[in-house]
């Protein structure tokens, strides 16, 4: 049951990820990426991380992809649509990526460290409580630093995108 769902979500996410890279139109890439994020959030649900799944949909699908589509709408992508994507155009990079993929797959398949038995299911609703306790007790300083980084990014984005009128 779980395996079937995992295979379904994994297959669709890989297909949509390929569509992101291979699509000629950036709008198609953005829509495929949105579908890929939805599959990944379903995989988070399979991993019993429902909070992360909701965050994934809110932040990635809801905020980041809308930002991407807004920027695509603002700038002219017609020239970008016309240029063809040739995978063999950059041969060294292609070889490098293929080597990287083969190496990582070989390491994952040879190593016996990933043969961990799945632990018993975590206690349903207690899951999120424990997560938030860990986040706000042990990781309070990184949490605050992350909020400062978000504020800096907000100010930086406004300054960068503003018209230079002085």
């Amino acid at each position: 049951m779980d395996q079937g769902f995992f295979l379904l979500f994994a297959t669709v996410s890989v297909i949509t990820a390929l569509a992101v890279v291979l699509a000629r139109n950036p709008v198609h890439s953005a829509l495929a990426l949105m579908a890929c994020f939805l599959q990944i959030s379903a995989i988070f649900v399979l991993l019993e991380a429902p909070f992360l799944a909701v965050i994934q949909i809110f932040v990635y699908v809801g905020a980041i992809m809308v930002l991407f589509l807004f920027v695509i709408m603002m700038i002219d992508v017609r020239e970008a649509v016309l240029q063809r994507f040739v995978p063999g155009g950059n041969l060294p990079a292609l070889v490098l990526v293929a080597l990287l993929g083969c190496e990582m797959v070989a390491l994952v398949l040879w190593s016996d460290r990933f043969a961990v038995a799945e632990p018993a299911a975590m206690g349903g609703g207690d899951n999120i409580r424990q997560l938030s306790t860990t986040l706000f007790a042990d990781y309070l300083l990184p949490f605050e630093v992350a909020s400062v980084i978000l504020l800096a990014a907000l100010v930086g984005a406004i300054v960068l995108a503003r018209k230079e009128s002085g």
Partner: protein, 100 residues
Amino acid sequence: MVPLWWYILLGVVLFVIGAAGVLLRRNILVVLMSLELLLNSVNINFIAFGRYYDDFRGQIFAIFVIAITAAEVAVALGILVALVRNKSTLKVDDVTMMKG
């Protein structure tokens, strides 16, 4: 039950696809989207290891990765808008202003 290495393999496949997008595509928008794909594949690894080793730190790290990604995308798209306004190009190869 799904074995752990299935999740790791999915992360590897998505990472390689994202890396191929970053290295091979010439369109800045698609490069940024492939970057998102890379970060997401790492998140899958974090959460899978956290689940199988019964440790919440995997999910904590994934939350921080998502927060930093949001900041990164906001700044990157701001830079992109400024770039298109000044140079009116979307190709990575045309952006050589910082070259000595």
